[in-house]
């Protein structure tokens, strides 16, 4: 069953043992003599929004590329949706890839296609959606990603940076993925645009039951926008938890990251008011008119 039907009634369920979307254990990634990950373990439960953080060069993008099977790890096991990928056939791996939506750092929109064509490409290639409804479907994804309708027929070069990210998100959402992987989705956006993007991800995650993993440097997202933060350090996943919890840990890397100069304001604010902002203004349940 592609979607968990009960999610709407319980937005952040405590995961059961079968409900891990990502399970990584003993992961090793190595470039020549340089070991980027050495025995990394990580689990992500269905329906969670997780931020992947760590200093520059700690291998966030490498980890994301491994998780979406663009890169074969040197050692270790990777289970996606409960399926071990290492000994899976190419066909299985392909079908797993179709269940993952990816937003690359620079958007990676196909420059020779319009936004609408970009969004429709995966649907046409992988789905078998009713052709009469295709355009309508593509438009709905574009609006869902928060783009105005008239941007559908524009080419990527005619879009601003923020719009490129949104268009790439629309393409990532095209096949209703269960897992959304975002590489620095808010980098290069202005603070208002970044906050709107965070809200959008949160809304989509709640309504579509998406699991989201995003590599990010955005302190606002880390402290307020996500359910949990996974911290990469010492070539391992050093700690996973809320930003608040990680800030109270002893490790010097975590102290520096979560209580250092730039993070301090967030740390103090969070200490004073520990309720995450997103759980206060969670999108209301059904407001669909019945008349």
């Amino acid at each position: 069953m592609p979607l968990n039907m009960n999610l709407g009634d319980n937005l952040n369920p405590s995961p059961t043992s079968e409900d891990w979307i990502i399970e990584v254990s003993g992961l090793v990634n190595q470039f020549g003599a340089n070991r980027v990950h050495d025995g990394l373990d990580f689990k992500l439960a269905r329906g969670r929004v997780c931020a992947l953080v760590g200093g520059s060069g700690t291998g966030k993008t490498v980890l994301l590329h491994t998780l979406i099977m663009l890169r074969q790890a040197n050692a270790g096991s990777l289970k996606l949706f409960g399926i071990e990928t290492n000994d899976a056939s190419e066909q299985t791996r392909q079908s797993l890839r179709e269940r993952i939506g990816v937003l690359f750092q620079g958007g990676a929109l196909f420059t020779s296609l319009t936004v609408l064509e970009n969004v429709l490409l995966p649907i046409k290639e992988h789905g078998q959606f009713d052709p009469h409804w295709l355009k309508d479907l593509g438009m709905s994804k574009i609006l869902l990603a928060g783009l105005p309708a008239d941007s559908a027929h524009k080419y990527p070069m005619e879009l601003s940076g923020g719009m490129v990210k949104r268009a790439a998100l629309a393409r990532a959402l095209a096949l209703d993925p269960e897992l959304l992987v975002l590489d620095e989705p808010t980098s290069g956006l202005d603070p208002i645009g970044a906050a709107a993007f965070d809200d959008l991800i949160r809304t989509l995650s709640n309504t579509l039951g998406l699991t989201v993993l995003q590599a990010t440097h955005d302190l606002d997202s880390i402290w307020r926008g996500v359910d949990e933060v996974a911290f990469l350090g010492r070539k391992k996943m050093l700690a996973v938890g809320t930003a608040m919890a990680l800030a109270q840990r002893e490790e010097p890397e975590l102290q520096a990251y979560f209580r250092g100069a730039r993070s301090q304001a967030f740390w103090l604010a969070a200490k004073a008011d520990p309720v995450p902002i997103h759980s206060r203004d969670r999108p209301s349940a059904s407001n669909l008119r019945t008349s």
Partner: protein, 375 residues
């Protein structure tokens, strides 16, 4: 199970104007190969309220779009739709999509008549010609002063370009000229031999090679080989914003990128043409010797008698003009690239076609001029 719908008839002789529509199966982007058709019951039994009920095994945002679209259509037809029987998540999803419906009136497609397209093509060509002239003007305007202060020319870049465009092209230019020289000797020789005028092969090959084929062949090869690479290089630099970076650093791209290329080709192409001349004559000599009994010694003795230095100059004078045109078209097309990767490929094609076209046109103009001048 594929998605489907089913009406539930009201029990007994209900007076209430309502019907239930049950949605069944997996409503997902992968399963909706064909969206089920819902025909609303006819007038007498026309319901005023439609109760939506769900027996769906899966429901994603693509299916929610279909439902949202139906709902808006039914509401527009004056019906009431009750979704309270759906699960919270299904209603949330429906609400999310419902708030984002657009008018499904198709965007107007600009249909263009053949006349309009012809007009656009003409205007496009005209603009292109204007741009070329403007670019030529820029070369004279900025390049002229540079030639006076020749120590400011980036000679290092010029040397590198001469190496890439000239030295590395020696092999292919030499081989092709040699073979064209052979072909000419064969074709001309057959006719000349039937008059017993075998020795005139030297006139034929000598004059045609030096005046036309040597320079033309070299120019065409350089246009295909070097002009295209100029376009690809500058086009990619535009996309990666390197050209903008140069400008921002106060380094004029024209002086840094375009001018060295022009200078390099103006130096390299005449030399390449001379090399092509020599190889063409050699090719002719081989065929004349082995095919038509004109020995090497006779062949090379006759060359200075039938072709004078003027013939050589008439051919070589054209080559700097070819070089300027090839370099300018290559650079201009590259600098015009906007935005996408596909544009670079497109610009490269245009650059090669235009450069070869212009080379042949200029060659024809020179022939007419020479004729008028009596050469």
């Amino acid at each position: 199970m594929p998605p489907s719908v089913r009406w539930i008839e009201p029990e007994g002789q209900s007076t209430r104007a309502e019907r239930s529509l049950v949605l069944m199966g997996a409503w997902t982007v992968h399963q909706l190969h064909e969206v089920p058709r819902v025909t609303l019951p006819d007038k007498p039994a026309k319901p005023h309220t439609i109760f939506l009920q769900s027996e769906m095994t899966a429901f994603d945002s693509s299916a929610a779009l279909v439902l949202a679209r139906w709902l808006s259509q039914w509401r527009a037809a004056g019906l009431t739709v009750d979704v309270s029987a759906l699960s919270l998540r299904e209603r949330d999803l429906l609400a999310l999509l419902d708030a984002r419906l657009v008018d499904d009136t198709p965007l107007p497609v600009r249909a263009r008549s053949p006349v309009a397209r012809l007009g656009q093509a003409v205007v496009a060509q005209w603009t292109e010609a204007q741009q070329f002239l403007a670019f030529l003007g820029e070369l004279v305007w900025r390049g002229g002063p540079l030639l006076l202060f020749f120590w400011r020319i980036r000679w290092r870049a010029v040397i590198a370009e001469i190496d890439a465009a000239g030295v590395r092209a020696l092999g292919i230019v030499g081989l092709l000229s040699f073979m064209i020289g052979m072909v000419m000797a064969y074709q001309g020789g057959a006719t000349l031999a039937s008059y017993g005028a075998n020795v005139l092969i030297v006139n034929l090959v000598g004059i045609i090679t030096l005046r036309e084929l040597g320079p033309l062949l070299a120019a065409i090869i350089v246009a295909g080989r070097t002009g295209s690479s100029y376009t690809a290089q500058l086009g990619t630099m535009r996309i990666t914003e390197e050209i903008d970076a140069l400008r921002a650093l106060g380094l004029p791209p024209f002086e840094l990128l375009v001018f060295p290329k022009v200078i390099a080709l103006v130096i390299a192409l005449p030399l390449l043409s001379m090399f092509a001349d020599v190889m063409g004559l050699l090719g002719g000599a081989v065929v004349a010797n082995y095919g038509y009994g004109v020995s090497f010694s006779v062949y090379f003795e006759r060359i200075p008698q039938v072709v004078n230095l003027t013939t050589l100059w008439l051919g070589l004078i054209k080559t700097p003009v070819f070089a300027i045109v090839i370099a300018l078209i290559g650079c201009m097309q590259g600098l015009r690239v906007r935005g996408s990767a596909a544009e670079v490929g497109h610009a490269t094609t245009i650059s090669v076609v235009q450069a070869i076209f212009m080379v042949i046109v200029i060659d024809a103009v020179f022939s007419v001029l020479y004729n008028l001048m009596g050469y």
